[in-house]
């Protein structure tokens, strides 16, 4: 039996202490990281609830329920930050990415505590794949939020559309990595390739005004 809450406390405690000691940008980054990890914990609870409601087995739930729940909960800390603090665009984009990184980190830790740490190669693929997938999803949300629309209602419509797309991307990833062997490797390689392609493409400043 793995108690994810206990794992979360162990991981979050030093970060929480660091938040108290650090200032400005560092503090903000760590708070987002912690928010990402907390979102991961919360989404595990919510996913479990919906899995019971729809009477699904855990594998089917990870293909059809978990992506939607995770992506929606992951965006909540950023939306709160945007609505309450009205921050600069660059701070918000960094925030979205840090939440994604925190989420992926805690998800990987939970995976390791459940499945063991014996297979280094599998964990390497899993670690990079999950990390890249969450960062790509975060980047897609950031593009949808900040680079496409000027008016609030268009931004809300666009954000919803981007969120739907991100959920499907996450679901495709989950289906692929749940299969053994080469299919799982392809599933992990796709977000990594997308991340690298995105980094090359977005080297210039994105401005569609």
């Amino acid at each position: 039996m793995t108690y994810v809450e206990n794992t979360f406390i162990c991981l979050a405690a030093p970060l929480l202490l660091a938040v108290l000691c650090l200032k400005k940008d560092w503090r903000r980054a760590l708070i987002f990281l912690l928010s990402g990890m907390t979102s991961c914990l919360l989404s595990a609870y919510v996913s479990s609830y919906f899995t019971m409601v729809f009477k699904l087995d855990p594998v089917t739930a990870s293909h059809e329920i978990v992506p939607a729940v995770e992506e929606i909960i992951k965006i909540l800390p950023v939306l709160f930050y945007l609505l309450v603090f009205e921050p600069l665009k660059k701070h918000s984009i960094s925030g979205i990415l840090m939440v994604a990184v925190g989420f992926a980190t805690f998800e990987n830790v939970c995976f390791m505590t459940s499945n063991g740490t014996g297979e280094l190669f599998d964990l390497l693929i899993r670690g990079f794949g999950t990390g890249a997938m969450h960062v790509v999803c975060g980047a897609m949300v950031a593009v949808g939020l900040f680079f496409l629309w000027d008016r609030a209602w268009l931004r809300a419509t666009g954000l919803f559309a981007v969120l739907c797309t991100v959920i499907t991307f996450h679901a495709v990833f989950n289906v692929l990595v749940s299969r053994p062997g080469i299919i799982s490797w392809i599933g992990s390689a796709v977000p990594l390739a997308m991340l690298l392609a995105g980094l090359i493409l977005l080297q210039g400043k994105m401005d569609f005004s």
């Binding site: 059809e64 559309a161 981007v162 499907t168 495709v172």
Partner: protein, 216 residues
């Protein structure tokens, strides 16, 4: 046999969407125009919906038990197409290409009436919520397309062809959904595949139109 045709036809749609998506991404990178990003998002969303469906069929041997994931992606594609039409409309207004919208003001409202009526028909055979959501989205899309068709001039600067393509795309989608209600009849299955191939072949048109109308 039908499963093989369906898989091949899905693969063709995924390939066409992928190629169109890559082209729009390359154009977006070189021209830095918002329309290409919206077009890329439309292609990407539609592709992901197809891909999820196909990956479930290939990897799990069955269609998704709760089809909400694919539906979300296809709904997102419709939303991106609507936002593309809005961007086209705004570009027309700034170019001064939009003619005075004085005649047939009531005609575009037939679009939501049509989608609502079709939703009532589809609900007899399918899910309530997803059919209502599709009816709302298609209603908005068709309304915008018809309004744009009535408003735009045929000359340079008009996005008439874009509105026309979206209008035909919506009608083809409705034809597809209607035919799918009679899936048990073999003849209708082949009509279904033909219509889906027509939809697939319509995707590159958006790229061509945007390339013609958007000047860097």
């Amino acid at each position: 046999m039908d499963a093989i045709i369906e898989s091949l036809e899905n693969a063709l749609q995924i390939a066409v969407l992928g190629i169109c998506g890559i082209f729009s991404l390359v154009r977006m990178h070189s021209v830095r125009e918002k329309s290409y990003l919206l077009l890329f998002a439309f292609y990407g969303s539609f592709l992901l919906g197809d891909l999820y469906w196909q990956v479930c069929l290939l990897c799990l041997g069955d269609i998704p038990r709760i089809s909400i994931v694919s539906d979300l992606s296809w709904c997102a594609a419709l939303l991106f197409l609507y936002l593309l039409l809005r961007a086209a409309g705004e570009a027309e207004v700034s170019d001064g290409a939009a003619a005075a919208f004085s005649v047939n003001k009531g005609l575009p409202w037939l679009a939501p009436v049509f989608t609502a009526a079709m939703a009532v028909f589809f609900i007899q055979n399918g899910k309530i919520v997803s059919n209502i959501v599709y009816a709302v989205l298609m209603g908005i899309l068709l309304y915008t397309a018809v309004k744009g068709l009535l408003r735009t001039e045929t000359g340079k600067g008009g996005f008439r062809l874009l509105y026309l393509t979206v209008f035909i795309f919506c009608l083809l989608e409705y034809a597809l959904w209607t035919v799918s209600c009679f899936w048990e009849l073999v003849a209708f299955r082949y009509v279904y595949f033909c219509i889906d191939i027509m939809i697939t072949l319509s995707f590159p048109f958006y790229l061509k139109i945007i390339k013609r109308e958007v000047r860097p």
